[in-house]
Structures are given as C-alpha cells and as structure tokens.
C-alpha cells in the first residue's frame, strides 16, 4: 500500500502479505483459539510473569508478599511459566522466527525514522516500554488480549481500551514525530 502519489513504499514495508489477507489469517487463528480454548490470544501476561520470575530470582520473599506478584506465586501453585499464555508467546517467538527465516528477512538494526538517532530511539523504546508495561497491567491486557480478542467477542472494556489506545497514540504522535520521520 503506497503512502501517497509522491511517496515510494520504503524497503521495510515491502514483501509482506496484503494487509486484508494477513488480517483474515490472523482472524482465523483467533477463531481457532476461541473454538479450542474459549479464550483468545494474549501477550502482555507473559511479560508480567517474566517480570515476576526475574524479580523472584533476586528477592523471592518480596515478590511472594507483593500485592500484585503474589497471584503468580500462590502456595503450592505451579511455576509462573507453566501457563497457557507463556507457552503461547513461546510459540510466537518460534513462529515469528520461522516466518523471518523463510522470507529471508532477518535484518539486524534499530527501527527508527530516517532522521532519528540510534541512541535517542533506544531511550524512547525503553521509556515507551515502561509506560506501555504499566498500561497493560491497569488494562489487564494489550493489543492481542484486549483489543483483538476482547474486541472480537464485543467485550465493552476491550472496545473502550482499543478506542482510548488509538485516540491517545494519534494525538501523542505529533510530539514524537521526529522519532519516526
């Protein structure tokens, strides 16, 4: 899809599936998940569990008594990584890797606008990760779990989340336009 008559499609946007085809394929994966499991896809839950496990390796007591992390460390419970979503995200890494290799698309680098520096971009990636990470905990999910999966089942909170995410990002985009231009 071209950005406009004067713009050429850049390298990094070439060679992918038609977005509607990719969307229908993704929708069928989601549909299969609902049919098999009754729940949808997810991702941020695995990040939260990773954060808990890493913190637990350093300060087990503090994590087990923490008001939020203790739900991952119930007495007699399974290890936090023995979890549907953690295994699913492991599959995402493997499936993504196979897709990258078969398309010969492994290109090490830092995704940034043509006039943005590497260091500022990495600082902003970290900062964005922190803010987004906190956001996923309040929203109890992210683009996969809430927007896509909750959205497909027409859950009210998921639609509210999705609308707020995109409204905020479209407004905030102006202030970080140099990062991406």
């Amino acid at each position: 899809m071209k950005g406009g008559s004067l713009m050429k499609t850049p390298d990094y946007a070439q060679g992918f599936w038609n977005p509607y085809v990719a969307g229908v394929a993704l929708g069928l994966v989601l549909l299969a998940t609902f049919y098999l499991m009754g729940t949808g896809l997810g991702a941020s839950g695995a990040v939260a569990r990773t954060a808990a496990v890493v913190a637990h390796s350093v300060a087990p007591q503090a994590v087990e008594t923490n008001g939020y992390f203790k739900e991952f460390y119930k007495p007699g419970g399974k290890h936090p990584f023995v979890n549907w979503m953690v295994v699913e995200v492991l599959g995402v890494f493997i499936g993504g890797l196979v897709a990258v290799i078969t398309a010969r698309r492994f290109r090490p680098g830092v995704g940034r606008g043509p006039h943005a520096g590497v260091v500022p971009r990495l600082v902003l990636a970290f900062l964005g990760g922190i803010i987004g990470g906190i956001g996923t905990r309040f929203a109890m999910g992210c683009t996969s779990g809430q927007a896509l999966s909750g959205g497909a089942t027409m859950a009210v909170g998921s639609w509210v989340f999705m609308m707020v995410v995109f409204a905020t990002a479209f407004c905030a985009a102006y202030f970080v336009r140099r990062e991406w231009s």
Partner: protein, 199 residues
Amino acid sequence: MTGPLFLQGAFGYEISLVIALVIGFFFGFVLERAGFGDSRNLTSIFYFRDMRVLRVMFSALSTAMVGLILLSWIGLFDYSVLLEFSLLDTYLWPQVVGGILFGLGFVIGGYCPGTAAVGVVSGKLDSIVFLLGMIAGVWIFAYGFSFWGPFYKFSDLGRITLWQVFGTSKEAMAAIVVAMALIAFVLAWLGEKWHPYDK
C-alpha cells in the same frame, strides 16, 4: 464437536499447553507476514503513511467475530459458555487509564508486546529494549501496587458486551462493527492520500 472445547472438558491442561504452542506459532508467523516485526510499520499508522495496522486489526477482529457467530449458528460453538465463563471483564476506569498509558507506550516505544516478540526474532534491537522497558514497567506497577491496587479493580462492570449496552442482538451489533470496519478502511485510504506529516 461443539466448542469451546477446553472449557467443556474435551481435553486436559497438558493438551492445552501443546495447543498454546501451536496457536502461538501461527500467531507469530502471521504477525511477521503482516509486517509487524518492524516498529516503523507499526507506527506508520499514526502518521497516515501506511494504515496496515488498522487494516489487519479490523479485518482480523471482524473475521473472528463473524466466525464465532456463524459457528454458533451451525451448532459448533456455544456462545453462552463464553459469555458465562471467559468473556473478559470490564473494569471501565482502569481500562481507560491503561489505554492512555498503553497508547503513549505504543507510539513512543514503537511496539506492543506481541509484535515486539516478532521484532526480536527479526533482529530489531529496539524491540529488545522495548521488552526490557516493559518488564521494568511491570516492576514499577508491582512496587506501587499498595498505592493503586484499590483503583485496579475499581468500576468492575463484569462480563458485559456491546450488544447488551446498546440493547440489540449480537448479530446486529456484529453487523454494525463490520460496517464500521468498512468505513474505517475507506478513511484509511483517504488518510494515506492526506499524509499530513510528509508535506
């Protein structure tokens, strides 16, 4: 067999983990093929350069939504099980606040969690840094949990759907969502012609 299979006891927990791996494989594969392993393709939507995120997400959402209704029509999916046991709960205000933070994190950081995983295997250093930032964000959330814990479960509206809010049937609501998606696809095309940031 009528789904959802796992919730109705068709197979056990170990099998569900095998399914998780297979489902995740296809999820990751399709995300990569959609172009979502690169932060530039994900943030282009916010500058009206390339609206592929909107096209992929809205067509995926519509496919699964309509698919679930069709499956329930032919008796292959029991929608009432989903509504009773697994529909995501609505926590209105925490999800508004979470949405604001997540939207900021998305455009500043360049990824969301699932796409960052695909970014990592595509060799993108910024996606690794983004994921490390997310882990730090979860630590901050957990550290301050005694402070914002009460808000975290505030305004719990339970398992509530759009069609219940708007007082219609789920089929009518799905038709409205599909119509919204089609309008959004036209607006996306117009937005790309406009591309205000590149003039």
